[in-house]
Amino acid sequence: MFRILYIEDEKEIGQWVTRDLTERGYEVTWLESGEELEKYIVAADIVVLDVMLPGLDGFSIGKRIKKENKELPILMLSARTAVEDKIEGLNFADDYLTKPFHPDELVARLEVLLRRYQKNDDVLELQHLKIHTKEMRVINRQTNDEIQLTGKQFYLLQFFIRHLNQILTKEQLYEGVWGESYIEGDKTLMVHIRYLREKIEINPAKPMIIETIRGIGYRVKL
């Protein structure tokens, strides 16, 4: 169970989000300002932060949290939609969601962040695969064999898992995994994706796990 520290001064919205997230199985601590933050911060897995707060504003609180603990993901939840605000927020926060939001979207984003920070030692079940996300062990559920991946294949799959459900362009993948800027026409990525598919797909000619999104890139969808 994940512990969410939620800071929101609007009572109605605070109650609603707290109730909804609790119903979905999260443990939510809701504060109306950042005053008693220190008490609860140690126990939190993720922070959901409003911007307009009495006293210290959300930006300052968020920066302070990040300064003390870099590994604590922060999602800004604000009715301030101006680009400047988003930019300022994303300077330190991991995500910025604007109000009015749909609770499903909030949860989806929280899950992405939790996965990215590997707070989540869930076992992912991707079609016929079982993936232990923390140590990145990939097991074929049909045969119960562990699939051995080479270095680059491992990082490639890890990158997909961290950006689950997101479409990734060739450039993003190459730069994320190889750490170098992508040169137009480079075939390295395609070759590695083919190898990876040969290992993890049931039928590499009809990939089900690593989807090709024509004209854009690839996606691993849960």
Partner: protein, 463 residues
């Protein structure tokens, strides 16, 4: 400033210039004065002599006659002796003695060719030639009577010249040279003076053209307190004012942005509350009608959200306070990344999505990514809302000889049939403002079978 004026005047260029002119004038005056004094002095000293000038000539004549009369013993020796004594007094003088019978007897200092025997006709010719001529010639009979012949004295006329004329003849070219030197000297001084001014003006011009990082001119270091210095000071003053006004403008802009941001925040908070309530209601056991009502509420909330966003952007764009930070980015890559967020949305709606983004000759466009992102967002938003019936979205690139373009295509019912598409107007107005703001072009072709939007960048044909 005013009480400084008298001091200021002394430092002014005008004062300097006037000083130069005054010196020039006074030097000519002084020169005149000195020359005049000099001339006066010389004429004064020379006057005694030159006053005697006529006298001198007549004196010489008289004395010559007188002394000739008193010569005793008319031998060659005595005459030569007499001549020698005159030669000491007038070194340039030439003298000779013609005896009674017309023979040239003794001569001193004679340069010209003289006949040894003087006929009466030659004598007459000689006297005629010399009368009033040069050299000054005096002919005197020797002794009391006319039986001992005559002695002739020749003195060049310039011996009797006034002294000033001699000086002029001697130093004339020197004086002329002096005048030229003085004139040249003043031309030089004037040249240096104006060159100095010109140099400083050019430097000032250069300094005025230097821009700070914020695009404002930089203050100039004022060295001298003359007119140019004053100009520099005024310029600095202007820079300060400009900076202040820019600062004020920025502050106003910021206030305005702040106000609009706050307003949008204040509008969104109740909207979030409505959504919260709607969501809570949707969790209840609802009738089909109730579910539909909640669905309609949801749609309205999303629409209002979009409208608030658009209204805010439009207001800022119209007031030119929407932050614009263009940079060179790879637009094809950018468009592809934009599509990664929109793809799932269209996918969910069951659209047939056709994406074909080919590299342009030059993928680097100077644009603000946030703006271009917004342009794409607004267009896709419109496709989603108003062309949903076509269930098709095409995003392609097009390169012609004249332009590179992104093409966004749908098979909706076209713009004219958008009965409930009133919100599309402001969204497309924002697209228009932003596209033009980034110096791109766009056109829209809409028919009942679909809409095609092209965002074009004209190729620089000069390259």
């Amino acid at each position: 400033m005013k009480f400084l004026r008298p001091f200021f005047f002394l430092r002014s260029l005008l004062a300097k210039y006037m000083l130069i002119i005054l010196i020039a004038m006074s030097i000519t005056q002084v020169a005149y004065f000195v020359i005049a004094l000099f001339a006066l002095e010389i004429t004064k000293t020379g006057q005694d002599e030159s006053l005697n000038e006529v006298n001198q000539e007549s004196n010489v004549e008289e004395r010559w006659h007188d002394e000739a009369k008193h010569i005793q013993n008319f031998t060659d020796e005595t005459i030569t002796q007499h001549f020698e004594s005159w030669k000491q007094r007038y070194p340039k003088a030439a003298m000779f003695w013609i005896s009674e019978d017309g023979t040239l007897r003794s001569k001193v200092n004679v340069q010209e060719q003289l006949p040894s025997t003087w006929t009466p006709s030659f004598t007459t010719k000689f006297i005629k030639e010399r009368y009033g001529g040069n050299p000054f010639t005096v002919i005197a009979f020797v002794g009391e009577d006319e039986t001992n012949g005559f002695i002739v004295l020749e003195i060049p006329r310039d011996v009797f010249n006034p002294p000033l004329r001699n000086i002029y003849e001697q130093y004339g070219s020197l004086v002329f040279l002096g005048v030229i030197v003085i004139v040249l000297f003043f031309i030089c001084i004037s040249f240096l003076f104006f060159r100095g001014i010109r140099k400083r003006l050019l430097k000032l011009q250069d300094a005025m053209e230097i821009r700070d990082v914020d695009g404002l001119p930089i203050e100039i270091h004022v060295k001298k307190k003359d007119e140019i210095g004053q100009l520099e000071q005024t310029f600095n003053h202007m820079v300060v004012e400009l900076r202040e006004s820019k600062h004020r403008e920025r502050k106003e802009e910021q206030l305005r942005r702040q106000l609009i941001a706050n307003l949008s925040h204040d509008l969104r908070t109740p909207l979030t509350k409505i959504r919260a309530q709607a969501y809570s209601i949707s969790k209840e056991n609802l009738s089909e009608e109730g579910k539909q009502a909640i669905q309609a509420m949801e749609t309205s909330i999303v629409n209002i959200d979009g409208l608030i966003e658009n209204l805010m952007s439009y207001t800022l764009l119209m007031a030119s306070t929407y932050i614009f930070e263009p940079k060179e980015i790879n637009v094809v890559r950018f468009a592809r990344e934009q599509m990664t967020t929109w793809y799932p949305v269209f996918e969910k709606e069951g659209f047939d999505i056709d994406i074909e983004l080919q590299a342009f000759d030059d993928n680097m466009w100077l644009i603000d990514p946030l703006w271009l992102g917004r342009v794409f967002d607004n267009i896709f938003q419109n496709v989603l809302r108003h062309a949903n019936s076509g269930k098709y979205l095409g995003v392609k690139t097009e390169s012609t000889a004249h332009y590179d373009a992104f093409i966004i295509k749908d098979y909706g019912k076209g713009m004219k049939n958008e009965s409930n598409a009133k919100g599309a107007g402001i969204g497309l107005s924002i697209v228009d403002l932003m596209v033009k703001g980034m110096e791109l072009e766009w056109d829209i072709t809409s028919s009942e079978s679909g809409t095609i939007i092209k965002i074009k960048k004209q190729k620089d044909l000069s390259k």
